[in-house]
């Protein structure tokens, strides 16, 4: 009986709370807010906040065309694998105090798990056989190459800071990092972590492929790049994966650098004097709310704002930008973390 209960609990985790449904809603919300804010920055009214939902359900209604040149099975399966990958990844990122699994994956593994949705898209593009998709695929791979280096440096810096502070050499497990932050305040308050946080903020648009770095799916130059041959439901699934990826990357930033807020909520709830299960539920609810708000603020700052003020870069500029400017930020923070600042 316990096994069944346990299985149901995990199923609920996967499908409902931090898994599919939750990140589906928040992801779409973030995309809607992103498009609205970008529009408002261009002095125009912009689409309604629920526009991504409409887009998604309209695409579900559209007919799916599989071109002859495409490899039919891979063409249809790739989006689903991408979606499954991003859903599972969301489980490993703790919401402040609440984490579903704490001994399944650590920070470096999450770095690799972030690759799976991008690879699913690349596989889908390759399977479609269109030359536009081929060019898009090559650009997406170069973007991944560009983003990987600074992202790793940031993670190493965080691991080193938390590791030396806790005296265990280095700590890669995300839940321990969040636990540490709850005791000693958010990492962003430490001097050595500020360049790392800035670097991570600069990485978010690159990782999610949003505006200045969306050379991979530049609709003007290479007709939607990798999505050139997708229509109907598979395209909807890819758009959904993009939306959920934004939420995942942003909540990773919150977990890595703003973990201390969870403790603040805890003692806030304690201050109200509630206790027992009710307090736990309330604090969980508050934490979710704070996470969503923080995600919205972060999306506005580092995706929408950057989207409104920049023009799309060429692919080798994207690569050069990430391997010089952003890597310097991350290196500075790694060196500072290393020599005990």
């Amino acid at each position: 009986m316990l096994l069944v209960l346990n299985a149901l609990k995990y199923l609920a985790y996967i499908l409902i709370f931090p898994g599919f449904l939750f990140s589906f809603l928040v992801g779409m919300l973030l995309t809607g807010i992103d498009r609205k804010i970008v529009a408002r920055m261009q002095k125009r009214v912009g689409p309604p906040i629920l526009q991504p939902f409409y887009d998604f359900f309209k695409l579900l209604g559209k007919e799916t065309i599989v071109p002859d040149a495409a490899n039919r099975r891979v063409f249809l399966l790739a989006p689903l694998v991408g979606l499954a990958g991003i859903t599972v990844l969301q489980l490993f990122i703790p919401v402040f105090h609440f984490h579903v699994f704490d001994n399944v994956a650590d920070v470096i593994v999450i770095l690799y798990l972030l690759l799976i949705p991008a690879l699913a898209e690349i596989l889908g593009a390759a399977a479609s056989g269109s030359p536009y998709a081929g060019v898009g695929l090559s650009r997406e791979m170069v973007t991944i190459l560009a983003v990987e280096l600074p992202l790793l440096l940031v993670l190493l810096a965080v691991a080193k800071t938390v590791g030396s502070a806790m005296g265990r050499g280095l700590v890669f497990s995300l839940s321990t990092i969040v636990g540490y932050q709850e005791l000693h305040g958010s990492l962003i308050t430490k001097l050595s972590m500020i360049p790392a946080a800035v670097a991570f903020l600069l990485i978010i648009p690159g990782e999610t492929g949003s505006h200045p770095f969306d050379t991979a799916e530049a609709e003007t130059e290479i007709c939607e790049g990798m999505m050139a041959e997708y229509s109907g439901a598979p395209l909807g699934v890819y758009k959904l994966t993009h939306a959920m990826k934004i939420f995942t990357v942003v909540s990773l930033f919150v977990a890595l650098f703003l973990g201390g807020i969870g403790a603040g909520i805890q003692n806030l709830v304690a201050a109200i004097g509630l206790s027992g299960a009710f307090a736990g539920a309330l604090s969980l609810l508050l934490q979710i709310l704070v996470l969503v708000l923080l995600s919205i603020v972060l999306t506005i700052v580092c995706i929408s704002f950057v989207h409104a003020i920049t023009a799309r870069l060429r692919i080798e500029q994207v690569f050069k930008y990430y391997w010089t400017i952003v890597t310097c930020f991350a290196l500075v923070s790694l060196v500072m973390a290393w020599y005990g600042l």
């Binding site: 498009r35 529009a39 261009q42 002095k43 125009r44 009214v45 912009g46 689409p47 309604p48 526009q51 939902f53 409409y54 887009d55 998604f56 359900f57 309209k58 579900l60 209604g61 559209k62 007919e63 799916t64 065309i65 536009y132 530049a218 609709e219 003007t220 290479i222 007709c223 939607e224 790049g225 999505m227 050139a228 041959e229 997708y230 229509s231 109907g232 395209l235």
Partner: protein, 147 residues
């Protein structure tokens, strides 16, 4: 699965694909002007799609020149099913001043069923928005009739 929701959102997020069949670019810049802050078609859900596979409404401008005819027909054919075809400006409807020239292949309606004609030699952006709104209703109707 949630068929009504799909129908409703088909009406709310029509994506455009613009085909220039030899136009003098008067209508092309007017179509783009519809997406500028002044008229902002995006608040109604319109968005320019990069490839016909992701389009719902196909906007054709220009008198269908002999050179562009096969390409226009092929691109329209590649748009997935609930689709509308809108001709913008007088040229695709009748060939306008170019009618009778040996290199013009006549009105688009000779080859494809045109859903909405937006007349005017460069119709005003408001007229284009009206035309597209009408096309969206027809799109929704087509979606309702689909299997």
């Amino acid at each position: 699965m949630f068929k009504k929701l799909i129908e409703e959102s088909t009406g709310k997020s029509p994506w455009l694909f613009h085909i220039n069949a030899g136009s003098c670019n008067g209508c092309d810049i007017e179509l783009v002007a519809v997406l500028t802050p002044r008229y902002d078609a995006e608040r109604l859900g319109f968005k320019l799609a990069g490839s016909p596979r992701q389009a719902d409404i196909v906007v054709v401008t220009g008198p269908i020149t002999a050179q562009s005819l096969p390409r226009v027909l092929r691109t329209i054919e590649q748009v997935p099913e609930p689709r509308c075809i809108v001709t913008m400006g007088s040229c695709p409807q009748s060939g306008n001043v170019f009618r009778g020239s040996y290199s013009i292949c006549g009105p688009l309606s000779k080859y494809v069923h045109v859903d909405v004609d937006v007349a005017g030699c460069t119709p005003k952006p408001e007229a284009v928005i009206d035309g597209l709104a009408l096309a969206t209703k027809i799109l929704q109707q087509k979606r309702r009739e689909m299997k």
